[in-house]
Each structure stands twice: as C-alpha cells, then as structure tokens.
Amino acid sequence: MRSSFFGFNVAVNGLYTAQKNLDVINNNINNVNTPGYSRQQTVQRATRPLNIFDGTGMVGTGSEVIGVERIRDEYLDTMYWSENITFGEWDTKRTLLSELEATFNEPSNSGFTTIMDEFFKSLQELAKDPSSEAVRALVKERGVTLAKYFNDLATRFEELQVDINDRIEATVERINSIGAQIQQLNKQIYTMELDGSIANELRDQRTLLIDELSRYINIDAHEVVVGKLPSGRDDVRMVITISGKAFIDHFSFSKLALIQRENKLNDEDVPNLFDIGWEDGNSLKIKGGALKGYLDVRDGNAGENGSPVYNGIPSYIKKLNRFVQTFAMAFNEGFIDLDNSGSIEDSEKGTGHVDGYGIGSADTGIRFFTMLGDGNKSISSDDFIDGASSVSDIAARYSHITAKNFAVSSDILEDFNKIATSDTPGEVGNIRNLSELLQLRNNDQMFTEGAPEDFMKSVITTLGVGSQQAVRISANQEVIVKQIENRRLSESGVSLDEEMANMVRHQQAYTAAAQMINTMSEIYDILINRVGL
C-alpha cells in the first residue's frame, strides 16, 4: 500500500529536478562569454522506484539530479596545446622579423641602395672634377651618411636585442606566475574532487591557464592516474613537463629562472643577456613557444657557438660587420680576397685609397674609412692602422671595424682635400686612383655573393625570405589553432538557443510539477475536508 502523501513527494522531486536544471541553465547563460568555460549539464535520472507488493509492480517515484558535469573533450585540449606551441613560436618570429625588416627600410628611396648609390654618385662627380671643393665636401658628407647608416642599423639591432631580452624576462615571470596559479588550482581541484564530484569551473580555469602557457613555452600536460581513491574513483594528478622535466607535478612546482650570461654567446651580442634555466640549477632547452621565438631571433647565428640554428639578430649584425670590414678594406687598401680563402695574401693587394694622393699636399697612405674610437670620435688613419705594415697585419686591423663603429677617418673629416684621387702627387686633374675606387662598385669578387650591392641585396633577401617563412607558418598555424578552438567551442561552448530551449523545457516541467501539487492538494482537500462530512 502506498503512502497517502506519496504523490506530493513525487511532485516535489519534479520541482527540485526542474529547479536544479534551471540553475545549471542559468549558470550556462551567465557564462556564455566567459573565456575557457565549458557548458555544464545535469546528470538526471529517475529515482528508485517503490515496489508495491499488491501486484501492480514498481511505481516510479520521480526524478533526481545526481551530478553536474562539464562537457569537454580533453583530447582537443591536448591538440590545442601542441599546435599553440608552434603558433606561439612563429607568431613571435613574425612580429620580430617584421621589426627587423622595417629597420632595413628596403625597398625605398632612403635605404641602403640609395645611400650606397649617392656615395658612388658623389665619387663619379669627383672623378669629373677632382679639384672642386664643393664636390670633395659632398663626397665626405656622403661617406659620413654611409657610415652613419650602418651605425644606426647596428644600434637599432642592438636595441631590439635588449628589447627582446626584456620580453623574455617578462615572459618567464608570467610563466612562473601561471605555474603558481596552476599549483594552487591543483590543490583545490584535488581536494574538491576527493568526494567524487567534479570541480568543473576550476578545471576550466586550469585549462585556460595551460592554454596561455602553451603559447609561451613547449609544455606537455597530462593527467596521470596514480591509483584509486577511497571513493572508488581514479586518483589523478596533473603533470606538466617542459622538455622532459616536470614544471608542475601535482602539488609541487619548479620555477624557471633567468641567469645573466657571464660570457657573450655571440661576439655580436650586447652584454648581460639572460639565459633561461631551472631555478634548481638544471639547464633547460626550450623547443617551442614564444620563448623559442624570442631566443631564436635574439641569439640565432646559424648554429655558430651553439647558438640556435636560425638567422637571428646576431647573424644580421655579423653580416653587416662583414660588409663594412670587407668594403672598408677594399676601398682603403685595395685588398680583395680573390680566392675566397678567408685571408688576404700579398698577391691580393690591389689599388686602394691609401695608394693615392689628395690635392694641396703630397700626403699619401690615408684611409678613407676607419672607426669610432674614444668618445665616439672617428680615429685617424695612423691610429687605426697602428703601425701595421705587412698585408696580413693590415688586414687583421680591419677585424676591429664593426657596423656600429664604422666611420670616415678623422683625416678626411678634417681635410677633404686628402680624398685621394690622383696616383701621382701634385696632379689635380689625375683621377687614376679614384677610377680604381669607382671600379669597386661593380667588383663582383669583393664578396662571395658578388659586388657590394649584391651582398647587401642578399642580406635583405635572406631577411625577406625568413620573414615570409614566419608569416606563412604563423598564418597556417593560426588557422589550425583557430580550427581546434572552433571544435572546442563546438563541443563545450554555450549555445544560447539550446539553453533557451532547455529553459522552456524545464520551466514547463516545473509548471507541470507545480500543477501536480495543486491537483494533489485538491484531491486531499476533497478527501480530508469533504469526504464523510
């Protein structure tokens, strides 16, 4: 025999179920725009039926909500992270290389080609009128412009290197901060889930943090089953590794640390750059993410001295240095490495500025280009050459020139009449020496890449190709990441239409259950108040 008020209980269960469902829908609607939120769903079932032993069998007792689950495909998260690592790396490279490209400012009417062109044009004018003071002054100024272009380029590259170093510092701090937050969340999630429930929101937050982390560095995140809990559920622990070593292992967290370099990795580097390692002293090899992008561009010198195998800032500074050294040596001394042996032999001495004579005095042995010395003042030809006399000793002096300190010698700056045009003292109309210098522009043996302008063209093309590669890979990767993101949203995102439909469904269920109570109430009213009176 069923209890008299059984119907009330069933109707009340219905009210509760509808209410709980509406609560979850309410929560979903609230979080429709919350980043990383996965929609939740109630787990609803019919309550245990009542067995009435009068031959009618089992009588249903209503419904109940036994849990709230988040809808999430964790496999998609893992995919997202691994693709996001690559995206982070190339998107960073793309941004940095486009900054480098802007520094070169080519093709334009104010980049290297124009400056080189103007310099040689002024020399051509000088060849037509070697005695003109106006033209000599012009040659001097154009020479200064050429030198300043390289100084400026090198300075900007160095600034960019320092800037990237700062970004690396900020990123490592952010990674450590994310690590601390994940460690905290791990504790909360583990404690909350001990009773068998699921910490939906906290898990969402953790996934969102790992999403961000995967943009910065190559991580591998997994939940590892280590045993069974007393509740019968798997005892799972979150482990995040970076290049094989645990960054987060359940409740423990190893920080990354910045280590200031004692020795430069590349000769071209600015001093005191940071290396990234573990705080416990272990070394760390970063294989992906924005940090890899930063490191590759900051340190990349095509693999030399253990630098990343990438054409980064040092490799471009190195090329610029090589350009100014080779060009200055050819222009000043006439040394050209004809056999590409990497060194200058006595037989490779041609005619240079040093062999000629200016006007007004019999001075010779003047170098047109030297370098900046103390106080950023250009040094004289004699100070630069420092007494070297053999071809190999003189050639060795040029290794001191860099793009940053490239300059027109103080001799020329003080007296432009020393610009050597003639091969014989006292002949103002003699341009034999200058003619040799003019030939240098089209001397395709000066560099392995060809003439001076070919060399710079190859530098700019290398950068263009590198930057184009970064643009392409990051664009492709962005599409892939977006697609996975879409699949995740498709799986876990809140659909307002769906929620509204469900809302109506549960609202109606609630109304019906309430109506049921009314009906029951009427029945009992009749039974108690009217029957048998």
């Binding site: 080519e106 051509q124 009128d129 109309g429 700019i460 498709s490």
Partner: protein, 312 residues
Amino acid sequence: MRVTNTMLINNMISNIGKNMRRMEGYQRKLATGKKIAVPSDDPIVAARALKLRTDVSQLEQYKRNAEDAVSWLEITESALNNIGEILQRVRELAVQAGNSTMTTEDTQKTAEEVEQLKGQLIKIANSTYAGRYIFSGFKTDTKLLDDDGNFVVEVEDTESIIYEVGISDSININVLGGELFNHGEEVIVGQPAKLITMMNEFIAALKSGDKIAICDPNDDLPEGESILEKLDDEMNNLLAIRASVGARYNRLELTIDRLDINKFNFTKLMSENEDIDQAENIMLLKSEENVYKASLAGGARIIQTSLVDFLR
C-alpha cells in the same frame, strides 16, 4: 556539428578581420602604387627591385658623365677650330710672304700680324673648362704655356682624363697639350712649344725677309724644313686630332642615345616589377569592399537574433 554563439561571434570577428587586412593591403597598394612594402611581401620582387634601382641610378650617372664629357669635348672642339683658323691664316700669310712682290714694309706688317696670331695660339693653349685648363693633362690647375709660349707643365702622353660612361666603358676626353702644340717631340718645362717655335721662326724670317726659309721655292732646304712645310705638317696633325675628337664626340652621342634607351627599358622593367596595375587593384579593392559590407551585414543579422527574440 554543433554551432555555438561564441563560435559564431569568433568566426565573424576573425573573418571580418581577414577582410579588413586584405582591404588594407589593396588600399596600401593603391596609395603607394607598389606591389610590395617590405621584402617579405615578395622577396624575389624585392631583390629585383633593389637591383633595378641600382641599375637605373647607375645609368643616370653614366648619362650625366657622358653629357659632361660632351661639354668638355665641345670646348676642346671649339679651341681646335680656332687653332685651325689661325693656322690657315698663317699659311695664307706664308704663301703671300713667299710671293716676291712683297715689300719690306709689307713683310714687317705681316710679321706683326703673325705675332698677334701667336699670342692668340698661346691663349687658346690655356683654354679652360669650368676653371680647369683643358690642355694641361692632369695639371688642370696650371696653364700649359706661359706668355712667351714656353711649357709651364710637363704634359706626359699618359695623362688622359677618363670619364666612365658605362660599366667598364670609359672614354678619354682630353687632348694633350704636348700632342697638339709639340707634335712628335717630348715636352720639356721652360722650353717653347714646337708650334710656337715655328711661329717664332716665321716671324724672324719675315723680319729678315728670308723667303727661302718661308717657302723654299727652289728646294734649297732639306725636306720639311721650310715654314710652309712645317705648317702643313702641323695642320695635318691638327686634322688628325680633330678627327679623333670628332669620333669621340660621335661615340658619346651614340652612348647617350644607348643610355637613354637602356634607362627607358630598365625603368619599364622596374615599373613592371614593382608597380601595381591600378585598374586591377581598384577592381579588387571594390570587390573586397563588397565582401566586407556583405560580411558585416550578415554578421549583424546572425548575432542579433537568437531564440530569446522569439520567446515572449
């Protein structure tokens, strides 16, 4: 596939963003007229652009050089022309003087005229172009001859002034004073030029009335020793030099023509390489604008409505 509101909005934002980026690209091309802004837009076009720029600017410089060479040669040519006229006049006078009907008074007058002509020759020897002595070889800051017709500078026959008018294409633009005034003999500073010496001999002969020295009517003198024969020799030399200057002038004109054509071709190549087709670009921009408008309109509709709008 299940589609959610966030997806719709994300996709719309991302697609409109892509539209905007493409439009920005076309607009930038429209404004700059160039296919590329940075090398990474197209490294190959960029590399060619750099090369072509260098080529065009070199051609411009070579053309300027060739034009300057032409002006120098024009000055030279006019000096040579004057010398030619002077020698012609001197020859006429020599022929007249050789005529036995001339009186002593006449020959004295002739001597005076020849003296004047000698002065003019010396002035021509010191002609300048933009303040530079054109016949002094490399010593463009010094006169060739002093007032007496003696060499002031030593002009060696290697002192050719060379202008570059192309890659490994150069032209000698000066006529050496030694070759012109001291034909066939070495220049020695302080010594008179051969041409001037001949004038001096002519004047002396006129003053002394030595007709044999002037025109050698009876072949008394060895071959080439008379003033008239020497004059002919000088005139031949002058003609040879004028021919060479003329040939160089000619060559320069051809060079300038060729440089003009090359510059035109290279500029055209440069334009083909890096300039955009404006008509095509505008069309693409317009079509992109339409796509943009459509996606905005579509997006606005999609994100506006949901079931909420119909539950009343």
